[in-house]
């Protein structure tokens, strides 16, 4: 007896959801990212105005002066949705964990020159308060923003900041053999040292901005665009050259993160600026105002980090940021 097994194909009636099909066509399976972000946010049937902002709807495009025909025309080039984000960060966390473990186990900070340790305490450790502020700003964008592609990403960004603040705290504890003197000194510096007050004030002023897109520009583009290259590229490289190469390992995540941050902010600026000349002009105006202010605020910190060469380093970083923005169509 012969057994004849026939293959029978059952075609699925549809390959994706209706709201995805309207964006990518119904003949193509959707990626997980597309399913997780496209049109997830409610747009109609808001029964009550929110008590914290009764003049607007719960989700309202009018919370920013930026106008987009379609708020989903920007998509994250990293395609982060919950699973891919968590998987990527778990991998990086594992690497950072083993970095810290190695430094602790082999006592790699033992040979650190005392003046270098003092400089790290002065320049790097107070930044944990900067990261916490950046977390507040990004959670605020998530809260009041529009379009899941942007708000989900702001929320991830906020979580990253908590992580980075914790890495900095751990560096401080490593420096002090688990005493909290550096942590307390750093908080004191953030609150009272004149060098940090410009940045702190700019940060606190950004908390109360009305327009969430402006917060995004100030925090994730201008502040990060200057501070990350200045500290995590230039300053840490200088520290490494003077015998503190351990810090390359301890700030590895911040470096990688900064590259990622540049990637999605570039894309966001490009999409938003090319939508209309009015958008491009508004973005350029925000950048112009805040760049001037943050540039000034970072000068004393650049002096702490690079001594006499501080102004020069900051100018280089600023020129790089302007070149980057110009490439996305922003003439500042």
């Amino acid at each position: 007896m012969s057994l004849n097994i026939a293959a029978k194909e059952i075609k699925p009636l549809r390959l994706n959801y209706g709201h995805i099909a309207r964006r990518i066509g119904d003949n193509k399976p959707a990626t997980r990212y597309q399913e997780a972000v496209y049109d997830v946010q409610p747009t109609t049937n808001f029964h009550y105005p929110p008590s914290w902002d009764p003049s607007r709807k719960l989700y309202d495009t009018a919370r920013t002066a930026i106008v987009m025909q379609d708020w989903y025309s920007f998509t994250d080039p990293r395609q982060f949705y919950y699973t891919s984000y968590v998987a990527a960060r778990a991998k990086q966390q594992e690497i950072m964990e083993s970095n810290f473990e190695l430094v602790e186990k082999r006592d790699l900070l033992q040979s650190l020159p005392a003046e270098l340790a003092a400089q790290i305490r002065q320049v790097l450790i107070p930044l944990r308060h900067y990261e916490y502020g950046a977390n507040m700003n990004n959670q605020d964008i998530c809260h009041r923003g529009y379009g899941t592609t942007i708000t989900s990403l702001a929320s991830f960004n906020g979580f990253d900041r908590i992580g980075m603040a914790q890495y900095i705290s751990r560096i401080a504890l490593l420096l002090d053999g688990n005493e909290e003197t550096s942590l307390q000194a750093a908080k004191e510096a953030w609150l009272n040292n004149p060098a940090w007050q410009g940045l702190r004030q700019a940060m606190e002023d950004s908390f109360v901005l009305d327009d969430w897109f402006e917060i995004l520009v100030v925090q994730d583009i201008v502040m990060d665009g200057l501070l990350y290259p200045l500290i995590y590229e230039a300053f840490i490289s200088q520290v490494a050259a003077q015998g503190g190469s351990t810090f390359l390992m301890l700030t590895q995540f911040m470096n990688e993160w900064s590259e990622e941050n540049t990637r999605w902010t570039n894309q966001l600026l490009k999409v938003t600026a090319s939508e209309s000349p009015a958008n491009a002009q508004l973005l350029a105006e925000w950048v112009r105002v805040w760049l001037a202010r943050i540039d000034l605020a970072l000068l004393p910190i650049a002096h702490l980090a690079f001594g006499a060469k501080g102004a020069e380093q900051l100018a280089t970083v600023k020129a790089e940021l302007l070149a980057r923005l110009a490439k996305q169509g922003l003439k500042v």
């Binding site: 194909e9 399976p29 395609q79």
Partner: protein, 90 residues
């Protein structure tokens, strides 16, 4: 003519999607044949993808060797490097 035919067959899964889309995008004359559980990509003479395109579609840095995790079969002479993968028959 048919002796110049080359093909790649992938599992039709989310992991293979960036590769399938890259073949579709970079070889406008290739045909895609969706069969139960798999996709057959056929071309004449040559089929190729580049690492940059696959990475952009996947949203991360993709190592082209990852395609072997979802590859079922192929026909053609392989020409590959870190930044491209090509099969040819002339």
């Amino acid at each position: 003519m048919s002796e110049h035919k080359v093909f790649m067959i992938f599992q039709n899964t989310a992991d293979a999607q960036p590769f399938i889309s890259a073949f579709e995008q970079e070889n406008p004359r290739a045909t895609l044949d969706y069969q139960p559980g798999m996709v057959r990509i056929e071309g004449l003479g040559e089929l190729g993808i580049t690492q940059a395109v696959v990475s952009e579609l996947a949203g991360r840095d993709v190592n082209l060797q990852e395609l072997h995790l979802t590859l079922i079969s192929l026909s053609g002479n392989i020409d590959e490097d870190d930044d491209y993968f090509r099969i040819t028959r002339h």
